[in-house]
């Protein structure tokens, strides 16, 4: 999911496993996952299934999955996925984190690695330290890139630099070196040539965790909008996702509490997903003067569907444009691009209106205005020209 593989694989290497990173989510992988999944579970289940099949084909022996007992069905994914995979004839050891007793997990771990108590503690300590460090590094890189991308002068510079530093980070497991890479990476992203006078539109990205964080699923919404000159700010991050359940960073709990409090007038009881983040994100976006909110979620997602029904009443109180994008395996990239473009036009028109009619004309022909002008026209079946960016 997103760049979370970097810190997680570092943790696994530290504690003595050889992580298998499935190939980046691609079409054939998704199809394999869909074939094996029940019909109307949400997209993340299907994608994850594809990843697991891929990992097993590459020779994984142990499948680890976080499990729990929440109102959202995610808690049962591990159980169901593993039993489907077993029925398909794969053999593996399953590791349901959260469902099994911690002592069972420790015993399993010991028998696999043959290490004693002390050694285990040491490697666990070091593992989690590197996990936190790398998660932090990834987070700071992504933040920098977000700011730079929508203001960059030479198109594509941010992304190539980001790719570089992430690859470098993934290779390195030494604490001192990781810290150094983090500093250098931030510096390198800072050096991206930007147009300081630019005032990009600001958009908050809210919705279901997986859809927000996995660029291959949301068709790189963050990068794409960034290239169109929009600053995209997701409410969720890899860092939060990895570190919150581990209780390593107290500030994460504070923000969680804050989100719950902010969304309380609309959602009186938690539903087990990211619903409070979605609603709080919209309210925050209004208060902080954002231009719009993009809400992404997979088809049949329970908590986000409830949000979707609540959003109209939230927007009634906090006037801000919200674009709902529902994804499943049939969503097309061009369709999403077109809607994003239309949404950007709408936000521009709104901003122009707020500025007192100044620059109204330039915004009404938003598609051809200079900051959305990107190369890469492509014709669709109707022969109409749709714009798609650097696919």
């Amino acid at each position: 999911m997103g760049n979370s593989y970097i810190p997680l694989s570092a943790l696994l290497r530290r504690i003595g496993f050889d992580p298998i990173i499935p190939s980046f989510t691609n079409k054939s992988l998704i199809e394999a996952g869909i074939a094996a999944s029940p019909e109307f579970v949400c997209l993340p289940f299907k994608i994850n299934m594809g990843d697991l099949i891929d990992a097993l084909d590459e020779g994984a022996d142990v499948l680890a999955m976080v499990c729990g007992m929440w109102a959202c069905r995610f808690g049962y994914y591990g159980r169901v996925q593993h039993s489907i995979l077993r029925d398909m004839g794969y053999e593996f050891e399953s590791f349901l984190i959260g469902r099994e007793d911690i002592r069972v997990i420790i015993a399993k771990y010991k028998s696999w690695t043959g290490s004693g108590n002390l050694k285990m503690l040491k490697s666990a300590f070091e593992g989690f330290r590197i996990l936190k460090l790398k998660a932090k590094a990834v987070d700071s890189f992504e933040r920098k890139a977000r700011k730079a991308r929508c203001r960059e002068v030479n198109e594509g510079e941010t992304d190539s630099k980001l790719e570089e530093v992430l690859a470098e980070l993934h290779e390195e497991d030494d604490f001192a070196r990781v810290k150094q890479i983090m500093r250098e990476g931030v510096k390198s992203l800072d050096s991206v040539m930007t147009d300081e006078s630019a005032k990009p539109l600001r958009v908050k990205l809210v919705g279901e965790l997986y859809m927000v964080l996995e660029p291959k699923l949301n068709f790189e919404i963050e990068r794409k909008m960034g290239c169109m000159g929009v600053e995209v700010d997701p409410v969720l991050s890899t860092y939060r996702w990895i570190l919150k359940p581990l209780h390593f960073d107290r500030s994460l709990h504070k923000t969680e509490e804050y989100a719950k409090k902010t969304s309380a007038p609309y959602i009186k009881h938690e539903l087990g997903g990211e619903e409070h983040w979605t609603v709080a994100g919209i309210i925050d976006a209004f208060n902080e003067g954002y231009d719009g909110v993009v809400h992404v979620y997979p088809l049949t997602c329970m908590p986000e569907n409830i949000c979707r029904m609540i959003i109209p009443s939230v927007v009634k109180d906090y006037e801000i444009p919200v674009l709902n994008l529902c994804f499943d395996e049939h969503t097309s990239q061009v369709g999403v691009s077109t809607r994003l473009e239309a949404f950007i036009d709408l936000m521009k028109a709104r901003r122009a209106e707020a500025d007192g009619g100044k620059g109204r004309r330039s915004s009404s022909c938003g598609l051809s205005s200079s900051d959305t002008e990107k190369p890469g026209k492509r014709s669709n079946a109707d022969g109409r020209t749709l714009r798609s960016e650097g696919v």
Partner: protein, 345 residues
């Protein structure tokens, strides 16, 4: 107080109404108010719900919207249940997120519907009588009166469950409650357990119809599947007809699941698979139902695969486009197949 004004409380006939109507109706009546139940689900109110609802939620929720938005009579307020948890266990229990968030969603439609009043049920954290008192307080009913009504309503609910256990149809029980005939004093003999497992005695082949109450007891949504099977001379066993303690016993054989209603379905399915007197199982689930997508897999892989792979089972997924004829054809084929299998034995 009773003379002053008789509040009319609207209850949408959808979702968990089909499980809790004895309690809700009796409670509202006993506190001196008048319950008004919406018409049965029909094409008209379902399509109204489909218009207003997000596309990818289950058909039962769309029906609920339809019931709310097309509430037939003038009422003072609508009762919208918020069922957070319905039982107490070692671990956290929930119902479906959509049932938890139901009032939040409905209040978005403030202008076109009557005032709404939440009935919050969170058994894991607050006792049920307290939620009843809180609900009554919102309507200006005193604590003492509410408590008395709660006792009566709980008894009514228990009696209704007992009747269902003995093979009485939910339809008939509901009719009795709605018509308000006064024979609810006639308490079914709880000591008489003879009639429990009634399908084992009456000789005809039995089909277990497993699914959420708001699907299998709603004649429109389920295309009358229950009556259709019965008209073929078979007895139909629903989860309400199975003893709760046996369901619980069956469900505890599998890994814990925190959705109470789904846990019940798993237990019921397991009981049906293990009961030699039940010849076939029909599962009805709705498209886009979150919990169902998971428990169908669990039932298929953990229960059916392990215990009785050769007992006939059919899963039907329904949504607002489901055609009656399609459902009936499939049920007919299933029944034929099942009976032929029995003959061969």
């Amino acid at each position: 107080m009773r003379e002053k004004k008789c509040l009319r409380i609207g209850i949408p006939r959808a979702l968990m109404y089909y499980k809790y109507f004895p309690y809700w109706l009796t409670f509202i009546k006993e506190t001196g108010m008048e319950p008004v139940v919406s018409e049965k689900t029909s094409y008209v109110n379902l399509s109204r719900g489909v218009e207003e609802c997000v596309d990818d939620v289950c058909v039962a929720l769309k029906a609920f919207y339809g019931h709310v938005l097309r509430f037939p009579e003038k009422v003072d307020c609508l009762m919208i249940p918020r069922l957070i948890s319905v039982e107490k266990r070692k671990y956290d229990t929930f119902t479906c997120p959509k049932l938890i968030g139901l009032p939040d969603m409905i209040t978005g439609f403030d202008e076109c519907i009557p005032k709404t009043v939440e009935f919050v049920l969170d058994v894991a954290r607050t006792p049920a009588w307290k939620s009843a008192v809180d609900f009554a307080a919102k309507l200006g009913v005193g604590r003492r009166e509410a408590l008395r009504a709660d006792i009566k309503a709980s008894r009514a609910q228990k009696n209704a469950e007992l009747e269902a256990l003995k093979g009485k149809k939910i339809d008939d029980i509901e009719k009795r409650f709605l018509n308000g005939s006064d024979d609810d004093e006639q308490v079914p003999d709880s000591e008489n357990t003879e009639q429990i497992y009634w399908w084992r005695k009456n000789g005809s082949p039995a089909v277990a119809l497993i699914g959420h109450p708001y699907l299998i007891y709603d004649p429109f949504l389920s295309s009358d599947a229950l009556r259709f099977i019965e008209n073929h001379g078979l007895s139909v066993v629903t989860p309400a007809g199975m003893p709760a303690d046996s369901i619980e016993e069956e469900a505890s054989k599998y890994a814990d699941i925190s959705w109470s209603y789904e846990r019940e379905l798993i237990g019921a399915a397991s009981l049906a698979f293990n009961d030699p007197f039940i010849d076939g199982i029909v599962m009805i689930e709705s498209f886009a139902c979150g919990p169902d997508s998971i428990i169908t897999e669990i039932i298929n892989r953990e229960i059916r695969g392990k215990f009785s792979p050769d007992k006939p089972m059919m899963t039907m997924v329904i949504d607002e486009h489901t055609g009656r004829a399609g459902v009936h054809t499939r049920l007919e084929a299933f029944i034929d197949m099942m009976l032929r299998k029995n003959l061969r034995k």
